[in-house]
């Protein structure tokens, strides 16, 4: 699965990655995007907050790809969806849209794509964005997200 992913380089991504890494004059900058795993998002979890991993901090503003499962959209017309590590039962014991687990990633699509089957893993590519952001339409707050993203089933 991993090999397939790294095979397909897109011009936009190459340019994006190069633009985001102007000072890294190394073979790294030739890579389209860095692969990110759900287990790599945080370096620490705590009652007083979570800390992003060094890798996440390093990749801020760059093209990354990550594999996960698409949770059913909060709203059919929402411009974003939630990517989770495992297929989600959307908080099996409560009714609040706010009760997402910590290990999720909010994905803003570059253009609308159809919701895919819940239990099919998808590969998402997009620009990693950090910092508190309230979705103007839904009020959904995220601290980590992909922007200008697209996905495909894998």
């Amino acid at each position: 699965m991993d090999h397939t992913v790294r095979g397909g380089l897109k011009r936009r991504q190459v340019l994006g990655a190069m633009a985001a890494l102007p000072c890294l004059a190394s073979p790294l900058s030739a890579r389209a995007e860095e692969r990110l795993g759900f287990g790599e998002l945080y370096k620490s979890f705590g009652v007083l907050g979570l800390s992003f991993s060094d890798k996440v901090n390093r990749l801020k503003g760059q093209d990354v790809s990550i594999t996960g499962f698409m949770a059913p959209p909060l709203k059919a017309e929402a411009a974003f969806f939630v990517l989770s590590e495992i297929p989600m039962s959307l908080c099996p014991f409560c009714s609040s849209d706010a009760d997402w687990p910590d290990n999720i990633l909010v994905v803003y699509l570059a253009r609308k794509q159809t919701f895919v089957q819940f239990n099919a893993p998808i590969l998402v590519e997009g620009v990693l964005d950090l910092g508190s952001w309230s979705d103007p339409e839904t009020g959904f707050v995220s601290q980590i997200r992909l922007r200008n993203a697209s996905f495909k089933t894998v």
Binding site: V47, M88, P92, F93, S95, S96, D97, Q143
Partner: protein, 584 residues
């Protein structure tokens, strides 16, 4: 969100269907004398203010209530739909006990309601109350806890749970104002305010307008204690402290999902001890892990208000020994891990939060702090995950948490033995559709797990062991174990086995918004598909409408008797503390 949306839609439709006005508090409401509450009349159409007549026991309502209500010409629903006119009078109190008949009319719209405003004993019977609430605690949970923890020989239990010696004194009807079915918000709210309400509502009657924070309020027990006594207040839960049950002590909202606002309400009342999970709603929005949408840092605010802070078991133990009398303990960003994961399997989120205290540690710490108040205290202890694990049909986790809840009851009973002026109440807020029907025996021949289920005589006895005497079975995946089954649920796979890799997730939402069986369990050897019997948008097993058992011991316990409405329980609590007579 789905439930909230549905609730709001039906609230809107109600106005169109009703021919008569609606009056809050509803007919047959019971009101603690002197307790502030909001009075609201909803007319089913737009009426002229000069046509509105309201009398109380035949007198002009302004005379009895002491002030005039605001007239709202047009209340608006979704998409600005006009719902009708309304009268709203906030924060009125009735100082004299008795029956209050309220007659409302406007043109041909008429409604009469009657309230029972009750007083209490002049002198308190109890100095302290410990209210132990097993969320979703049903009879099957306690039977399973007893068998799993103590064992059984020749049909007789080999030991007794702590709860087994708290006398059962009443059956409690848990139904809500708009349905026979119910949730943890309106049920705990009924216990903690003396007023029944609607699913998802806390400390309010559910009115017809979409806003969740404007509904007619009633007083909560924590507010009553602050108004009339110098007693300390403690709230302990294994859920988020802003979850429905703990929230019910302080909150006023139509929606239990207003968790950020509920944290503000907790801060408003400032329970002296507040222990549980849910720190995500205490953190300002720019902190990763926060679930707030504003910049308020409630950790800092509580600290500034004189609270000590504990964020793990070690700090909780240290805080118990300190002489700081106010304590905020938050041990997880969300709900705390359940006992089976926290203490034994190390699954769930225990790798991220490895040093969480349990309900017993928290109950002890709370009693330690609260008992220093010479005026006494009210402590609510919630075993939250009995319910949170019953929803996903994870009966092993629900039962092990029942054992832990029972140990907290043991701590409370030990306190009451030394402090006999303490009333102990043990109850659930609602039930689940669950029963023990026998055993599953791996030793039976064949590969079909269904054929290994033992019923009637073939059930025999399970072979759990507790060699280390900690009250928990040494392992949950014994060869002959309890077979516990739900009478309802979504499509799922029955594996006949404990879920050792983490809490059960029976169903997953598909692209049509329907919950379908989680295929992760399909290939467990012997797993069988169980067809769901609730609507396909239901994600998990649902609450049952069955009565709950209430048990009580100590001064004031004699007030609980026979069948009682959940709201009647408050009256007994208020009477034990003489809240209708007490003055600070």
């Amino acid at each position: 969100m789905r439930q909230l949306f549905l609730a709001l839609t039906s609230a809107t439709m109600l106005a169109g269907a009703a021919s008569a006005a609606t009056v809050y508090p509803l007919d047959r409401a019971t009101v603690l004398v002197g307790s502030p509450f909001d009075f609201k009349v909803e007319f089913s159409k737009v009426v002229k203010p000069e046509d509105v007549k309201v009398t109380v026991n035949g007198e002009a309502y302004e005379t009895v209530f002491g002030k005039a209500a605001n007239f709202v010409a047009e209340e608006k629903g979704k998409e600005d739909k006009v719902l009708g006119s309304a009268l709203i009078l906030r924060d009125l109190t009735i100082a004299k006990a008795g029956t209050y008949k309220v007659d409302v009319s406007a043109g041909d719209e008429k409604k009469t309601v009657s309230w029972d405003v009750y007083g209490t004993a002049a002198a308190p019977k109890a100095k302290n109350i410990i209210f132990l609430l097993g969320d979703g605690l049903s009879v099957a949970h306690r039977t399973a806890a007893r068998i799993m923890s103590k064992g059984m020989t020749e049909g007789k239990a080999n030991g007794r749970l702590a709860m087994d010696d708290v006398p059962p004194v009443a059956f409690i009807g848990t139904s809500s104002t708009h349905a026979i079915a119910t949730d943890s918000a309106n049920t705990m709210s009924a216990y903690m305010t003396g007023h029944k309400s609607r699913v998802n509502a806390l400390g309010v009657y559910a009115d017809r307008t979409p806003a969740s924070l404007d509904d007619p309020k009633v007083e909560t027990i924590a507010e009553a204690l602050r108004r009339t006594t110098k007693k300390s207040i403690g709230i302990v839960s294994t859920a988020e402290v802003e979850d429905a049950t703990p929230a019910a002590l302080v909150s006023h909202t139509r929606s239990r999902n207003d968790k950020a606002e509920i944290v503000g309400m907790l801060y408003g009342v400032k329970p002296d001890v507040l222990l549980g999970g849910g720190s995500a709603y205490f953190l300002a929005k720019d902190v990763p892990g926060s679930k707030r949408k504003d910049d308020k840092d409630y950790i800092a605010l509580f600290k500034e208000a004189g609270y000590g802070l504990a964020i793990n078991k070690t700090e909780l133990a240290a805080a118990s020994g300190s002489n700081q009398d106010k304590l905020l303990g938050l041990f997880h960003t969300g709900n705390m891990d359940v006992t089976l994961d926290r203490e034994f399997l190390k699954k769930g989120t225990v790798d991220k939060f490895p040093d969480q205290p349990g309900l017993v540690d928290m109950t002890k710490a709370a009693l330690d702090k609260l008992s220093k108040n010479p005026d006494g205290f009210f402590l609510m202890v919630e075993g939250a995950s009995i319910d949170k694990m019953s929803h996903p049909l994870d009966w092993d986790r629900a039962v092990v948490d029942t054992i832990e809840f029972d140990k907290a009851i043991g701590v409370a009973r030990a306190f009451a033995e030394k402090n006999p002026d303490t009333l102990i109440v043990v109850t659930g807020d609602h039930t689940h559709g669950v029963s023990i029907i026998g055993t599953v025996d791996d030793e039976k021949p064949g590969t079909e797990m269904r054929e290994k289920v033992g019923t009637y005589d073939a059930a025999g006895f399970p072979n759990y062991e507790d060699k280390n005497g900690d009250g928990y079975p040494d392992k949950i995946d014994v060869s002959r174990r309890l077979f516990i089954a739900a009478n309802n649920g979504p499509d799922h796979y029955e594996t006949f086995r404990p879920k050792l890799d983490g809490p059960f997730v029976p169903a997953i939402k598909n692209e049509k918004g329907e919950y379908i069986a989680n295929e992760a369990y399909k290939d467990v050897p012997g797993a069988v598909f169980v067809q769901g019997n609730i609507p396909k948008d239901g994600d998990s097993g649902v609450h049952a409408v069955d009565d709950v058992v209430l048990q009580a011991a100590g001064p004031g316990a004699e007030g609980f008797r026979g069948y009682m409405e959940q709201s009647d329980v408050y009256r007994v609590l208020a009477d034990a503390f003489a809240l209708g007579a007490a003055k600070k």
